[in-house]
């Protein structure tokens, strides 16, 4: 039932000249670049298809009933009002389907919660409205704030067309830099209110809670720049504290870290 709707929706938007050149009709979760994000994506697709299959079956019966048993066609109502067998079946079958879904979900969850064996620890602190990154073992730390050009463009009636700015609202002055292929443990906390640190391509999101330290981990196996946002409402500028992570080869990271240490 998605595609007609999508066509309709697309048609409406095109009619209104929704700048098709910039069209990005993204529909689905990103696969991401970490083993966990791929597991999560697989799990997402599994559940999605199970749901679609059940929906097709259930909706087919509903549509058939509505199309066939019509008063206007002279249908006469049957007299039954229960069937123990049917009711037992449609209680037990869903339970089995749920067990089938719960097993891989539990397996992935156990992997997510196992942050042992990490090689680098980064402490992330949320502030209203910026992030602080601290390389705990190396004594390097800095703030990461929405890039100025973006900040100017997002002011009320700035007159700047966001479409003229690359990665609008997803660019910072100082991105977090991490090495490729290394298990990185992220300690998440906050200084004022609750924030949430999220990079969709890493499959992970964790709340940053003042006074408490949360933990997540990721191993990005593809170099590149990955963008996310604060995901927990944290006040006026909640929408304007992006997360940008640059994943670079090991050697490049070591050089960057050394350079950073000398400037500290």
């Amino acid at each position: 039932m998605k595609s007609p709707k999508r066509d309709l929706a697309g048609g409406v938007a095109l009619l209104l000249a929704a700048a098709p050149a910039y069209a990005a009709w993204d529909l689905n979760l990103r696969v991401g670049v970490t083993p966990l994000s791929r597991d999560i994506y697989g799990l997402h697709m599994l559940i999605l298809w199970v749901c679609v299959a059940i929906a097709v079956a259930v909706f087919a019966v509903m549509i058939y009933s509505v199309a066939t048993f019509r008063h206007s066609k002279g249908a006469t109502p049957a007299n039954f009002d229960h069937s123990t067998l049917a009711e037992v079946i449609w209680t037990i079958v869903p339970v089995l389907i749920l067990v089938f879904m719960a097993i891989p979900a539990a397996r992935t969850l156990v992997a997510i919660e196992d942050s042992s064996g990490s090689e680098l620890t980064v402490k992330v602190t949320g502030y209203q409205w910026k992030w602080q990154y601290e390389y705990v073992e190396h004594g390097v730390s800095f703030f990461s704030t929405l890039a100025r050009r973006h900040d100017a463009a997002r002011q009320l009636d700035s007159g700047v067309d966001p479409r003229t700015i690359d990665n609008y609202l997803l660019e910072v002055d100082n991105p977090l830099v991490v090495p490729q292929g290394v298990k990185i443990r992220v300690l998440v906390t906050a200084a004022d209110v609750i924030h949430a640190w999220w990079v969709p391509d890493f499959g992970m999101k964790k709340d940053a809670i003042p006074g408490f330290i949360n933990e997540l981990w990721f191993t990005a196996d593809k170099a590149g720049t990955y963008r996310g946002q604060c995901a927990e409402l944290c006040g006026r500028d909640h929408g304007f504290m992006p997360v940008v992570v640059e994943v670079v080869p090991r050697a490049e990271f070591d050089a960057w870290l050394a350079a950073r240490k000398t400037t500290e």
Binding site: L48, M62, A75, N79, D81, P94, D157, F212, C230
Partner: protein
């Protein structure tokens, strides 16, 4: 249209139409001092409709700002106020009072009682609600702006609210007190005032779902009141329940809130289940399939609602065992919910279905609520919820269960019982137009939000990266279409109240054997069932 032209002949069974009673008082005093369940029901429903329009307008401010990327209309702080107050008004001011209004009107009629058990308290609980929402709306004009921390009012953020904070908290206290009184009234009425012969398992499903809802209300509204009172003392009296600096914990609030909040979800949807269980048998001309299992499924859902709260907060950092437990418990809810959907489908199977407006809304409910159920099941899976959490996927999910879910059921109920209330048939063509516009636009509005969430758009942001532009524009178009369509609903109700073809007592062709409300004339006289009707066992539920 299938309204019968039956005379009122079969309506009489002698429940006191010769007037021993005085009628309603004249003028405004009728409404201020009334203890009549029908008047109070009407006031609740009108109040709910007004709040629906106010809350809807706030949603349109949000959708207008999100129409294209960039900030064009409002300040980000005001945007947050709009999302926050929209939710508070829709939950506590529109959906809940609508179901209370329906309960007030219909429970006595359905169980053969002359009125609610506690009529003065009934009046008080309505007028408390008016006071509550006056305070909440007043809070918008306070120094520092209205509440802007999201309807969940999470600390520490909520403690940054200006003078609006105490107003919003007292509004919640009053609305909560009103709900508790309403719930007590409903329980006492159902337990004590059923017509002779109407055993518990002979009650109409709407009465059953409201009975269970009322117990949920009594169980959780005080919890919520406690949580917001702790916010109040943290803010004004130096306590530190929710501040780590003083030995407290901000996440404690989230646990308390969602211990209330998850049953609250079912407080909004269980009466809707009851309504749909009334409408479908009437228009399928067939008894409700699996009545007993419907009752047990409703009770199971209510029970499970107390042990799944933490699925709203998987990202706060919980122990593995906690995540496992809440994942599995949440998945279990799919079982009784599935039973309900299957039973409704089986009720239609081999029925004789006609498609008057109430049935159209019930059918849309069946399809679209199920979609919301599926996304709910997906979110129960903790690893993927780490991706979905706090994105538009969540926004899409809960709007699917609340708008084409609860709200459509309420509209279906209004179309179902409006002739009984007013004594007039409404304009069927216009009502069908209202249905089709609502059903189409609600999908244009909310379906794309699934895509936005999966693509990575967080909720509660006033501006967004350009890759989210297209679906946001579609969603906003749907929003304005849906919002404007509701003006038709208001117009249609207004016209039906003013006049129209007279409605028979039975109103609907298939309603003949369903429920005591169809045995009294339309409009229902000011006083009904002065002498209780006799119910033969097991006949009154549909």
């Amino acid at each position: 249209m299938s309204a019968t032209t039956d005379t009122l002949a079969d309506a009489g069974h002698g429940h006191g139409h010769d007037v021993h009673h005085h009628g309603p008082a004249k003028g405004i005093r009728r409404w201020l001092t009334t203890t009549n369940h029908k008047d109070i029901g009407t006031m609740y429903l009108v109040f709910s409709l007004i709040m629906f329009l106010i809350g809807g307008s706030m949603a349109l401010v949000v959708r207008a700002e999100l129409f294209v990327p960039g900030m064009q209309l409002v300040d980000p702080g005001f945007f947050n106020t709009m999302t926050t107050v929209h939710a508070l008004i829709m939950v506590f001011g529109a959906v809940m009072p609508a179901t209370v209004g329906l309960g007030n009107w219909m429970i006595p009629l359905q169980i053969g009682a002359p009125d609610m058990a506690l009529p003065r308290m009934n009046n008080f609980s309505f007028w408390l609600l008016v006071a509550a929402f006056s305070l909440l709306i007043l809070s918008l004009f306070m120094p520092g702006g209205g509440p802007a921390s999201g309807w969940t009012l999470y600390p520490p953020l909520v403690l940054q609210t200006g003078d609006a904070l105490p107003l919003a908290i007292f509004a919640i206290h009053l609305a909560g007190a009103s709900s508790i009184m309403g719930a007590i009234n409903i329980i006492v009425t159902i337990m004590n005032m059923r017509a002779p012969g109407m055993t518990l398992l002979a009650m109409p499903m709407f009465v059953w779902t409201w009975l269970i809802t009322a117990y949920l209300l009594i169980a959780v509204m005080p919890v919520f009141a406690g949580a917001v009172t702790m916010l109040l003392t943290d803010h004004f009296f130096g306590s530190t329940f929710f501040s780590a600096a003083g030995g407290g914990d901000p996440v404690l609030y989230q646990h308390i809130f969602w211990f209330f909040g998850h049953p609250e979800v079912y407080i909004m949807i269980l009466p809707a289940f009851g309504i749909v269980s009334e409408i479908i048998p009437t228009f399928a001309r067939k008894k409700l399939f699996g009545y007993d299992s419907m009752v047990y499924a409703t009770a199971s859902i209510a029970f499970l609602s107390f042990i799944v709260w933490a699925h709203h907060m998987f990202t706060v950092g919980m122990p593995l065992a906690g995540e496992m437990f809440f994942m599995l418990a949440t998945m279990l809810i799919a079982v009784p919910t599935g039973v309900k959907v299957f039973n409704w489908t089986a009720t239609m199977w081999k029925g004789s279905i006609s498609f008057e407006p109430p049935m159209l809304f019930a059918l849309a409910f069946l399809f679209l609520f199920t979609i919301g159920g599926f996304s709910g099941l997906m979110m129960a899976i903790v690893p993927v919820d780490f991706q979905y959490h706090d994105t538009y996927f969540i926004v899409a999910h809960f709007h699917y269960v609340l708008v084409p879910g609860a709200v459509f059921a309420i509209m279906g109920a209004v179309y179902y019982w409006l002739p009984k209330w007013t004594g007039h048939m409404y304009d069927m063509k216009l009502a069908k137009l209202h249905f089709w516009l609502s059903a189409i636009f609600v999908n244009v509005l909310f379906f794309p939000q699934h895509f936005l969430g999966l693509a990575g758009m967080p909720r509660r942001i006033p501006d967004y990266a350009t890759q989210f532009a297209d679906w946001n524009m579609v969603s906003s178009i749907g929003g304005f279409g849906f919002g404007l369509s509701q003006l038709l609903f208001v117009y249609l109700i207004w016209r039906c109240v003013r006049g129209g073809a007279p409605a028979s007592a039975v109103v609907w062709d298939g309603a003949r054997s369903h429920g005591l409300e169809w045995t009294v004339p339309s409009p229902a006289p000011y006083h009904t069932f002065d002498e209780p009707p006799t119910v033969r066992g097991g006949e009154m539920h549909s």
